[in-house]
Every structure is written in C-alpha cells, then in structure tokens.
C-alpha cells in the first residue's frame, strides 16, 4: 500500500511539473514479468546496403532479474557492467541503462500477449544512434534460473 502511495505521489508530482512525455513512475510492482521470452530484434544494417536485419533469441528472464529491473534485451555480459534503472513513462515500461558514455533505453508497452517497443542507443564518441524495433513474446520454454 505504501508502495502504491509512493507511486501515486510520483505520478502526481510529475503531472504537476508538467512533463510532456507522460508521468514518470519509479520502479515498484511493475516491470517485465519473469519467464521465458522470445525476443525479436529488428535493426537497420547499413553496409553494404541499407536494410532491415531481423534476429530472434530466447531470453530467460529470472525472478531475480525481474525484481532488479534488469534490461531484458541487452546481452547479459554487457548488462553486468552497466547500471539499469526501471521506470514507467506514460504507462510504458522503460529500462534506462547507462554504460560509461553510452545511453541505452528500452521502452516497451503491452502488445497482444507480449510487449513491443523500441531500443534506442546513443554513443557520444563516435556520435552514432541506433533505434531498433523490439518485440517480446512469452514462450512455453522453461526458465530455470532463480
């Protein structure tokens, strides 16, 4: 109940400060549920020709990762060296991951039985930006990690 009050207070405070992108809520009882997810990643590949590159992989998102609010799309090896903050913006689930001078943002919302959204990554040097389409679908596969 206290958590709900905190979240509501955050929504109210954000609304009062006039955030154009929607209310920002700190991590609480929301987030991506633990389980096995099939992640579809659509990214623009530029060389030799520019085209959409599609790849899929299965991600076991453990209960501990869900509780921590880990970024479910970033490769785990990389995520271990970064800091992820889970928030909610305008009802979307947002994972902001900072790795040194790199900023990653996964923003997803409910989409059918799963979630879909975008993965935006900006590097400062060289100044390059990537925005990919991300689709997460629940699968029946077992997720045995705790």
């Amino acid at each position: 109940m206290k958590r709900l009050h905190t979240a509501m207070a955050a929504v109210f405070a954000a609304a009062m400060t006039g955030l154009g992108g929607g209310a920002v809520v700190e991590a609480g009882s929301f987030g991506l549920p633990a389980g096995t997810w099939e992640v579809t990643w659509l990214e623009p590949r530029l060389v030799p020709q520019s085209k959409a590159f599609k790849t899929s992989f299965v991600r076991c998102y453990s209960a501990a990762e869900a509780a921590r609010g880990s970024n479910p799309v970033m490769p785990a090896v990389q995520e271990a060296k970064c800091n992820t903050k889970l928030t909610s913006i305008g009802g979307d689930i947002v994972f902001d991951t900072g790795c040194g001078d790199q900023d990653h943002r996964l923003r997803i919302s409910k989409c059918g039985a799963g979630y879909c959204g975008t993965y935006r990554y900006g590097a400062r040097k060289p100044k390059v930006i990537l925005e990919s389409i991300v689709i997460l679908r629940p699968t029946d596969g077992r997720c045995e990690r705790s």
């Binding site: 579809t40 659509l42 623009p44 030799p48 490769p75 990389q78 975008t118 389409i133 689709i135």
Partner: protein
C-alpha cells in the same frame, strides 16, 4: 449520387492501378557531379549493432565504383530492395560536398536515406548517414540509424 459514387469508384480504380504500376523497382535518376571525383571510392561506416556480447559501435567498409550516370541501385548504402515509389531528391558528388537524399514508400514500409559528407583537410570526405525505416506490417514501428561515415577516393575504376 449514384453517378457520384460510380465516379469515385472509377477514380479509386485508377489510383489503385497507378499504385500497382508504381511498385516496380526504382531505377533513376543518375549520379551528378564533378567528373574528377568519379572513380573508385571506399566508405568506412561506423554504426551501432547488436552482437552476441553487446550492443555497440561496429565499423564496416564498402568499396564502390562511382561512375558518372551510375544508378542508385549500383551505389553502396542504398536501401535494399529499392521498391515502391521512390523520390531521389539529390545524388551529387562534388568537390564541396557529397550528398544523397532519397525517400521511398510502398504499402508496408517508408524509407528515408540521407548522406551528407564534406571534405576534410586530408582529402577524405566525412559526415553523417541517416537511415530510417517505418514498417506497417506485423513488426510495425520505426527503426533508424545515424552513422559516422568517412569516404576516400582510391583511384579510377
């Protein structure tokens, strides 16, 4: 009223027929520019990609023979496949800049490509390449990439 509806349907049929014809692969216009700059070029493109161990910058190189009158389909970095209705607004290779702007649209996707390079002191051309694709099919959404490009003329071809 009936005549009006019939007229509207006929117009819709014409529009559909025109749309269907416009789905042929795009072929023109040709490259313009200073003849001295045409020849063999290498493009070094740094963009971001997702790999097994991380999401980070990746540099790839591509070479191309740029000839006066080359078609967009012959050029590196062009959107593939070139389909739907495309409008090439600029495709120039000049001493002061290298520039390309192209927009394509069909029933499922809209693509925009923008390349702008300017000369550096060492003779290379450097700048940005922006590529955006909006999909309307099952993976609907927008994806984009802003890349860092260094291009060098390596000789004739």
């Amino acid at each position: 009223m009936v005549r009006g509806r019939a007229g509207a349907m006929a117009a819709a049929c014409i529009v559909l027929a025109t749309g269907a014809a416009a789905q042929k692969p795009y072929t023109g216009p040709e490259t313009e520019g200073d003849a001295a700059l045409f020849g063999s070029w290498s493009f070094e493109v740094t963009s971001l990609a997702r790999g097994e161990s991380g999401i980070g910058p990746v540099t790839n190189s591509v070479s191309a023979c740029l000839k006066l009158g080359a078609k967009p389909a012959d050029l590196p970095l062009m959107a593939q496949p070139l389909q739907g209705r495309c409008a090439m607004q600029r495709l120039e290779l000049k001493a002061a800049y290298v520039s390309m702007v192209m927009l394509c649209e069909d029933f499922e996707r809209r693509t925009s490509l923008m390349l702008h390079l300017e000369p550096r002191k060492d003779g290379a051309y450097a700048g940005r390449y922006s590529y955006t694709m909006t999909l309307d099919d099952d993976g609907s959404g927008t994806m984009s990439a802003d890349a860092d490009v260094v291009a060098r003329r390596t000789g004739g071809c």
